[in-house]
């Protein structure tokens, strides 16, 4: 009998808690096509909405005539800005403090802008009706190039802002200027440059791209005119924020709005904001009293709902001859498109771009960002990144390579020389952040040893000589990237969205039989929360993860939270989960003490229950304690076993990593082949190593796509080019390189379980690794910086310009 008693290790394994490579529980339904996405939701009497969109990038709208469309059988209504004015919704506020047209109000500012909303009995009729709505446009001069946006004679894009010299983030200096954001010490930085032995300066562009989740943005709005309740199903990364915004805009009381985010097919920042489709569906449902579904198609998604990046960064670094960096100066020209609809915490017009000092100990730095309007779609979302951190990481990682080139130093050695040292943590950066923890040297050396960095450099040298001798037409590049991320927005002292502090929450209820339902304010879009959240709880309260249900996305049942983006779920909600679990464990300890008739101080925690110190036979498992909580709680104690926790993080977390990319480029075609890609990530405590690996693979694949060709392009009259998967580069398994992953563990000192968040690191660190590999390959031919994206024709062009075609 006794040998049937599970060992401590067996009990621990049975929990599938933190550190376990637990299989993703949500995949059972996803891999069988049994997920429940917005478009799977079908309500009786549901109508469909679809948009008439502008063919022009900049034009006056002089007339909208829906007469013919309304004659088509099955067409119910055609909404225009005039109709929305009746409910004060022709314009909507953006997360960035700007306002945005819901439907064209007198003019359009970008191609495919929403002009009218057709409501019909089915999607087919709606699409037919769109062709019948007659819109008259008067074309206006188009502004595409952000560098021309503040020319004196640049066209006025936003007449609605005429005379407004003050924007949401300070003074505006031109009719197309949105804000200037300045951080750091200008004078001190100027001095550093004056005293420098060496300086570099380069304009580094991070082109416009798009998060392109496989499921596009969509929603169903259903207004019940009898009860006055509005239910909205939608692809929302932040359902509670959507509820609050919907209440503020519609004046429907917040408790009468039910927001439900069912399964979401990827978000990557695309599903944080509010889009005209949501507003129009809600208004149409309020008007008609029946549910309205709006589902974007791929081209609409790529061309209108939230681009990412489009940052043009002029970076300058001052250094001593030995490579020690002494100052950093960055100016960013940020192209925001027609409206400033950036999805950043409200006080951060350029997100956390001031992480741009990266992993290096810059004594002083100065940063200035100018946001401008152009005739392009609005957005500027954090595409798998924590608010402009990808742009910042790219800027500094390219900058360090360019400095190494100028100094004739190895780029890895230059980085190591300037790393923030382990003993400097918590480290105050020159641009205002306190890095929580890090051990950059250990990570870098492990990475270099694993890939055989010095040997690769020797091979590269031999190849360059062979190329010069005409023996090969291939050049080899080694990309080094050492990134520091800033995630986990964020502390209420500096982060809010429209005034709501960026805390997050967890509610955990242990049932009498010892199983659990738990709900969080976050919302998985593929990150695997149903798996990992249960693992945290399992370790904290000793109940097997398999007995813990995780539910997110229903604002009626989940505690208020700010949602999932910016790698914030683990740093913020993950902490709330641990703390709620600990409240439960504390109560369980009192119950166990009562059951065992000892003082609670005589008890110690042991994997899945409490035991009497020095007498491990006297123990109560959590299962037994749960039953007691409902059956016979200690006298005077409230029955039940549940807890809620709201967590306001004391600081951000700062994951980091060392990435290396080895690439071979055919100079005659410009085709680049990634030979090796090694990614070492340090995200602190690792909750589920397999999910981390999956996140890293996914993020690296996106980084590969972005660096090597994924782009939203415009021609000179503002036509958006390549907004379909025929052109927009989504790599398949065939193109995607093989990923080697590795890790070190430096826990966050301020997080209850020491975890930092990892989902976005690979995108942040991956792009510079690829781009540095490309740039490194061309360096010996005399190049300093080649702009992304590095698709074949551009690399061929670079080779040609450098004389490699003879």
């Amino acid at each position: 009998m006794n040998d049937m008693t599970p060992t401590r290790e067996q009990r621990e394994a049975a929990l599938e808690g933190m550190g376990c490579k637990r299989k993703r529980v949500e995949d059972i339904r996803f891999t069988q096509g049994k997920g429940n996405y917005v478009d799977d939701v079908k309500l009786p009497g549901m109508l469909f909405g679809d948009f008439v969109r502008s063919p022009y990038a900049h034009a006056k709208v002089t007339k909208i005539d829906a007469t013919e469309a309304l004659k088509l059988p099955g067409v119910i209504a055609v909404l225009t800005a005039e109709d929305l004015k009746g409910v004060n919704l022709a314009w909507m506020p953006t997360l960035a403090g700007d306002v945005q047209m819901v439907l064209a109000d007198g003019k359009v500012l970008y191609q495919n802008q929403e002009v009218a909303f057709v409501v019909a009995e089915d999607r087919y009729i709606a699409d037919d009706a769109i062709q019948l709505v007659e819109v008259e446009y008067e074309e206006l001069p188009v502004l595409v190039d952000p560098f021309k946006s503040m020319d004196a004679d640049a066209p006025v894009l936003r007449p609605d802002l005429e005379g407004k010299t003050e924007g949401a983030h300070g003074p505006r200096k031109h009719h197309n200027h949105i804000f200037t954001w300045e951080v750091g010490d200008k004078d001190e930085t100027a001095r550093a440059f004056k005293d420098a032995d060496v300086t570099i300066k380069e304009m580094i562009s991070y082109h416009r791209t798009h998060p392109s989740p496989l499921e596009t943005c969509q929603c169903i709005a259903s207004m019940d005119k009898i009860t006055g309740e509005l239910t909205v199903w939608g692809t929302f990364q932040a359902p509670h924020v959507i509820r609050t915004v919907a209440s503020l805009l519609s004046t429907i009381p917040e408790h009468k709005i039910h927001v439900i985010a069912p399964d979401i097919g990827g978000g990557f920042g695309n599903k944080v904001g509010a889009y005209p489709g949501y507003i129009c569906a809600i208004v149409a449902s309020i008007v008609t009293g029946v549910p309205i579904k709006w589902v974007e198609d791929r081209m609409e998604n790529l061309s209108t709902t939230s681009f990412a990046r489009d940052y043009h960064m002029t970076a300058e670094i001052a250094a001593k001859n030995d490579g020690t960096v002494t100052g950093l100066k960055v100016h960013v020209l940020a192209d925001h498109g027609g409206f400033d609809a950036c999805a950043d915490p409200s006080k951060w017009p350029a997100g956390f771009f001031n992480i741009v000092t990266g992993s290096y100990d810059f004594p002083t730095a100065h940063l200035e960002v100018d946001g401008v309007y152009t005739n392009k779609a609005p957005g500027g979302v954090a595409y798998r990144c924590s608010f402009r951190v990808t742009e910042a990481a790219y800027c500094i990682e390219r900058g360090m390579d360019i400095l190494a080139q100028k100094l004739g130093m190895d780029p890895a050695d230059l980085r190591i020389k300037n790393f923030v040292k382990p003993e400097q943590f918590p480290y105050q950066s020159a641009l205002g952040w306190e890095y929580d923890s890090g051990d950059y040297h250990t990570a870098m050396h492990k990475a270099m040893d694993t890939i055989g960095y010095r040997e690769l450099r020797a091979e590269q040298k031999a190849k360059q000589e062979a190329f010069r001798r005409g023996e090969t037409r291939e050049i080899m590049g080694i990309g080094v990237s050492f990134f520091t991320e800033i995630v986990g927005a964020g502390p209420s002292k500096n982060c809010d969205i429209l005034g709501v502090a960026m805390f997050d929450s967890a509610e955990i209820r242990v049932h009498p039989t010892g199983s659990v339902i738990s709900r969080m304010g976050t919302k998985s879009q593929g990150q695997g929360h149903e798996t990992t959240w249960a693992q945290i709880i399992a370790t904290e309260i000793g109940i097997p993860a398999a007995d813990i249900m995780v539910e997110e996305g229903n604002t009626d049942t989940a505690p208020y939270g700010l949602g999932t983006y910016g790698s914030r779920s683990t740093p913020v909600a993950g902490a709330a989960i641990a703390l709620a679990s600990r409240k439960i464990r504390n109560k369980a300890q009192m119950i166990a003490a009562h059951m065992l008739e000892v003082s609670e101080y005589d008890l110690e925690w042991d994997v899945d229950g409490f035991q009497v110190k020095g007498n491990p036979q006297a123990r109560k498992s959590m299962k037994e304690i749960a039953w007691a909580a409902y059956h016979a709680p200690p006298p005077g104690m409230e029955p039940g076993l549940e807890a809620v926790s709201y967590y306001d993080p004391p600081n951000m977390t700062f994951p980091f990593g060392a990435y290396f990319c080895v690439m071979d480029i055919d100079v005659d075609t410009g085709v680049a082949k990634t030979r090796r890609f090694y990614a070492l990530d340090d995200c602190g405590t690792r909750i589920n190593p397999m999910i981390i690996e999956g996140q890293v693979h996914g993020g690296l694949t996106e980084a590969f796509a972005i660096a090597m060709g994924q782009e939203i392009r415009y021609d000179e009259i503002g036509n958006v080019l390549g907004a379909s998967f025929m052109d927009f580069f989504i790599p398949t398994a065939v193109e995607t390189p093989h990923w080697e992953t590795d890790h070190t563990v430096t826990p966050s000192p301020h997080h209850p379980i020491g975890a930092k968040g990892v989902g976005e690191s690979p995108n942040v660190g991956g792009v510079p690794a690829f781009s540095n590999a490309v740039n490194d390959a061309f360096q010996f031919l005399g190049s300093t910086h080649i702009q992304m994206p590095h698709d074949a024709w551009r690399l061929w062009q670079a080779a040609k310009d450098l004389g490699a075609h003879g």
């Binding site: 999607r123 699409d127 037919d128 062709q131 025929m726 580069f729 074949a792 024709w793």
Partner: protein, 288 residues
């Protein structure tokens, strides 16, 4: 991304299909695999009122050999081309090319007839058919006629096919046993049309080129038969200077569009690179 209204027909014979087409003129379009036509309809770049599905016509299927000619039924899918032992033995370049079209899902339904009738310069089979000197059998109300692939293409989406005609089969002269061949295609990713591609078939007598046929994909608004390049190479020993001249001749006839694949200048140069690489591989195969 939703097509307009159309009527769907599914005839069971070529005569019936031709009759429907003749009846509706320009308003009707044959439907084969639908993997070029339906995307165009979803974008409303094509809005036929009548779709005549050829999928129910058994006579349009199959691959057969008759003396020096191989005949492929128009409704033969790209997947079936890949799987055919006859083609692998006699016309292996068809298999090589078909494997570079799109992805398996598309190849299961996309047909050879649709691919060559479509008139999209991005399609890979038309240049290959020009390289092989194939002819297309076109069946209309007045019976059959044959048009050489090299004479079929007029401009993007404009061909010698009349609105009431159906392309019923493709006839290909079997190249000499032991011929060399290669289809070189530069593309951005799986599922992409060519940035530039080149088809080459040649024979070698000792070290000398016996015959050489060159054609190019997606570097003009039609497929291009590069006759001058082929002529330059024929009789040569494939010495560097001759290859260079042939490549230049091939590049000279290109007129590519600038698009996401690259500017025109790049695509012209890539046509040259593809010719050079296809030639090297074809010659290698011919000798072995």
């Amino acid at each position: 991304m939703i097509p307009g209204v159309f009527t769907y027909h599914r005839p069971s014979s070529v005569a019936e299909a031709v009759a429907i087409l003749a009846n509706h003129g320009d308003e009707a379009r044959p439907l084969s695999g639908g993997h070029s036509l339906i995307p165009m309809m979803k974008l409303r770049m094509a809005a036929p009122e009548h779709l005549v599905d050829l999928g129910g016509i058994a006579a349009l299927k199959g691959i057969s050999e008759d003396g020096d000619t191989i005949t492929i039924g128009a409704m033969t899918t790209q997947h079936e081309l890949i799987g055919s032992d006859l083609l692998s033995a006699k016309l292996p370049i068809i298999r090589e090319t078909a494997l570079m079209i799109a992805d398996p899902q598309i190849r299961y339904v996309g047909t050879l007839g649709g691919n060559v009738a479509n008139g999209d310069p991005g399609n890979d089979m038309p240049a290959l058919m020009q390289c092989l000197d194939a002819s297309y059998v076109l069946t209309g109300p007045d019976g059959d006629r044959q048009v050489a692939a090299r004479a079929f293409y007029e401009a993007a989406y404009f061909t010698a096919l009349a609105p009431e005609e159906i392309l019923t089969s493709i006839r290909i002269p079997v190249p000499a046993a032991g011929h060399g061949y290669a289809y070189e295609k530069l593309k951005r990713k799986v599922g992409d049309y060519a940035t530039a591609a080149a088809a080459i078939v040649l024979t070698m007598n000792g070290g000398t080129v016996g015959m050489c046929s060159v054609a190019l994909t997606n570097v003009a608004d039609t497929p291009l038969f590069a006759s001058e390049a082929g002529d330059i190479l024929t009789g040569s020993t494939l010495d560097a200077a001759t290859v260079k001249r042939a490549v230049a001749a091939a590049e000279a006839i290109t007129q590519p569009a600038s698009d996401g694949r690259g500017p025109a200048e790049y695509r012209t140069k890539m046509a040259g690179v593809m010719v050079e690489r296809a030639l090297a591989r074809a010659a290698e195969r011919a000798r072995s």
